[in-house]
């Protein structure tokens, strides 16, 4: 697995936004890679930089964003230096995206068939063939009677079916990377389980890589091979899914896991764990460790200087001065 180059390789990426309040440093020194055939999960709470990171990968950043440094390589090519023509190829064909809200991802006034044929516009194949391909893909994602229903409009489908259609559209061009941004957040739990099952099957069939963004630790544990934990614009920990869940090295990861109500044993009545304090202001960053002000294990040296990434073996790294011990 380590022999072939990764699909996506991000190194030391820093992105900031120019705002009236000053420079908001939304991403700082973010490094991660998505190997071929693997599902990598990004987990973090609101404001951790997940959305900025995804936008950077597809070069969809807002006009006031500045890439301060670092590289993004997609199958070896420098995304930050790509000309517009290559970017068009990257978005949708080589890297496809499934969004959080299936209700707004589809165009309500255009039939599903038209949308699914249009998305193949780079392919010179005849329209009938594109339609047949779309029908086959809808069948694959579990839409009943796809041959007839493909001519319907988005409002004729339920939320779960719309997310299936969005996934079908993302996979039509056979991308090497699928980016899924909270794809089940808008769905009920029984539908969420079905979509997760579908993503897993599709990954097996299509042999692509998936970058799966979620705040749901249960989904990350269930679906992902590797996990990247983000906090306030930094990667604080990264490693194999088992290492992250069974032997987390960063205090933030440990607290985040402790807060998940699905992990709290039946001790009804006891106080639920929380993470005290609030996110730091990204326009006025603290000197030392980004998590120090909320960290129950913080020491004087934590606020003095920002910690480096420390490797703890088997590709597991954590940005904490204590990560190497115990």
């Amino acid at each position: 697995m380590t022999s072939s180059p990764p699909i996506l390789d991000i190194a030391d990426l820093s992105v900031s936004f120019a705002t009236p309040r000053g420079k908001v440093r939304a991403l700082r020194d973010v490094s991660l890679s998505v190997p071929r055939d693997r599902i990598v999960g990004i987990v973090g709470e609101s404001g951790c930089g997940k959305t900025t990171l995804i936008s950077s990968i597809l070069r969809l950043l807002a006009a006031n964003a500045v890439v301060e440094g670092g590289t993004i390589r997609f199958e070896g090519e420098d995304v930050l230096a790509m000309p517009d023509a290559a970017l068009g190829e990257l978005r949708g064909k080589r890297a496809a995206m499934v969004f959080q809200d299936p209700m707004t991802a589809l165009n309500p006034v255009v039939s599903i068939a038209t949308q699914m044929i249009d998305i193949q516009h780079r392919d010179p194949a005849p329209k009938a063939e594109k339609r047949a391909r779309a029908v086959a893909m809808l069948r694959r994602v579990g839409i009943p009677d796809p041959g007839e229903r493909i001519d319907g409009y988005a409002h004729r489908f339920s939320g779960g079916q719309r997310q299936r259609i969005a996934i079908a559209m993302a996979l039509l061009m056979n991308p090497s990377l699928l980016i899924a941004d909270e794809p089940t957040t808008a769905l009920d739990v029984t539908l969420e389980a079905q979509i997760v099952q579908l993503i897993r099957e599709l990954k097996r069939d299509f042999r692509g890589s998936i970058l799966f963004v979620s705040h749901n630790l249960g989904l990350i544990a269930e679906l992902c091979d590797e996990v990247v934990v983000m906090y306030a614009g930094e990667v604080v920990e990264r490693g194999d899914v088992r290492a992250i869940f069974h032997a987390p090295r960063h205090p933030y990861t440990r607290l985040l896991l402790a807060c998940d109500p699905a992990r709290i044993p039946d001790g009804a009545g006891a106080e639920l764990p929380t993470i005290k304090g609030a996110l730091p202001d990204l326009a006025a960053l603290p000197e030392g460790c980004i998590f120090a002000s909320r960290c129950p294990e913080a020491e004087l040296r934590c606020v003095a200087a920002a910690p480096a990434m420390i490797a703890t073996g088997h590709g597991h790294v954590a940005r904490c001065i204590k990560a190497g011990h115990g």
Binding site: T190, Q194, G218, E222, A262, I264
Partner: protein
């Protein structure tokens, strides 16, 4: 029954789908759908009742009907020892003084043009009462007093939720109804809101009805649990018993569908196929039968009535599961 703070009997809420004339002309004999279809529930003082169900199960409509925010088609409601017979606006206003409501999506439910001070004093104004002390209310819900002159868009999600708690509790109600109190919050903040609700319950002797689709959360906060499906309660009982030994196949599927935060604990139970059907074409017989892995002929014909399983548990299923099996939610 005498000790119950809130008692609902055979509540029905019906929404019209076609006008009366059009229904007659086009020969539709049921020009309505039953969003809540015969729900009976009760809540003892000091208790927390969780109502769980997926989108379209009727849980929000049910709680809105208690406060008269949607009209009842049938059913009886008792609150604090007296039946609410008079459902005129004036009578409902008195009821709403004693029952606080926390709405879904706290940011959207707060007027963007009002300050926090004005928002938390609004209940007093609506009911024509002497204004309470805004600083004391802020202290009660753990908000810094400096936020009194802020507007909703200047609040974080957790702070907006606390303003919602202050508004619900401003008039010192006996009962608080909370619709998805932690939806959209990060896990680290979710715990804070739930701890706040628990502390206020202990301090003020409150009772709660909490509506949610989040099973891991409701497991930790409710003492009793009612599971809704297509406008009916399919199972009801003590929270722990319902979680550890579900009697209804739908409850079992719900509990099994919750992802487990452990990479080595794979799902073993079969997934539920299909989706919740539309209320417009409610299946005949048991509403769950088209998705139920255990459905038999009788389930497609007879509607199962709720029946007692134990002293404090009911299930609406012809073939309830053995309550000795123990699926897991936590590890």
């Amino acid at each position: 029954m005498a000790e119950m703070l809130l008692r609902l009997e055979d509540i029905r809420v019906r929404f019209r789908t076609h006008g009366a004339l059009r229904a007659r002309l086009t020969g539709i004999d049921r020009p309505y759908l039953d969003a809540v279809d015969g729900v009976s529930l009760s809540l003892a003082a000091g208790e927390t009742l969780g109502i769980v169900g997926e989108s379209g199960s009727g849980k929000t409509t049910l709680i809105r009907s208690i406060l008269g925010l949607v009209e009842l088609a049938a059913g009886r409601i008792w609150f604090d020892g007296a039946e609410i017979v008079d459902r005129s606006d004036a009578a409902l206003r008195v009821l709403r003084r004693q029952v606080g409501m926390m709405f879904q999506d706290p940011v959207a439910s707060l007027s963007p043009r009002k300050t926090v001070r004005s928002l938390i004093l609004e209940p007093f104004r609506i009911h024509g009462l002497a204004l309470g002390d805004p600083a004391a209310l802020m202290d009660m819900v753990g908000l810094p007093r400096a936020l009194l002159d802020n507007y909703p868009h200047q609040l974080s999600g957790g702070q907006a939720r606390r303003v919602g708690v202050a508004r619900a509790l401003a008039l010192r109600p006996k009962l608080v109804i909370a619709d998805e109190p932690t939806a959209g919050l990060d896990v680290s903040v979710q715990g804070e809101i739930l701890n706040l609700l628990a502390r206020l319950q202990a301090e003020l002797g409150l009772s709660y009805v909490i509506v949610t689709h989040n099973l891991p959360v409701i497991r930790h906060v409710s003492s009793r649990l009612a599971i809704m499906y297509l406008g009916r309660i399919v199972e009801e009982g003590p929270t722990r018993a319902v979680f550890t030994a579900p009697a209804h196949p739908y409850t079992r599927a719900l509990v099994a569908a919750v992802p487990r935060p452990d990479p080595d604990d794979a799902r073993s139970e079969p997934l539920l196929s299909g989706e919740v059907p539309s209320l417009r074409d409610r299946p005949s017989g048991c509403p769950f039968n088209p998705r139920c892995p255990d459905a038999q002929d009788r389930c497609r014909i007879d509607v199962p009535a709720p029946r007692a399983l134990a002293e404090t548990r009911t299930v609406a299923c012809h073939f309830p599961l053995s309550t000795r099996m123990t699926p897991r939610l936590t590890t």
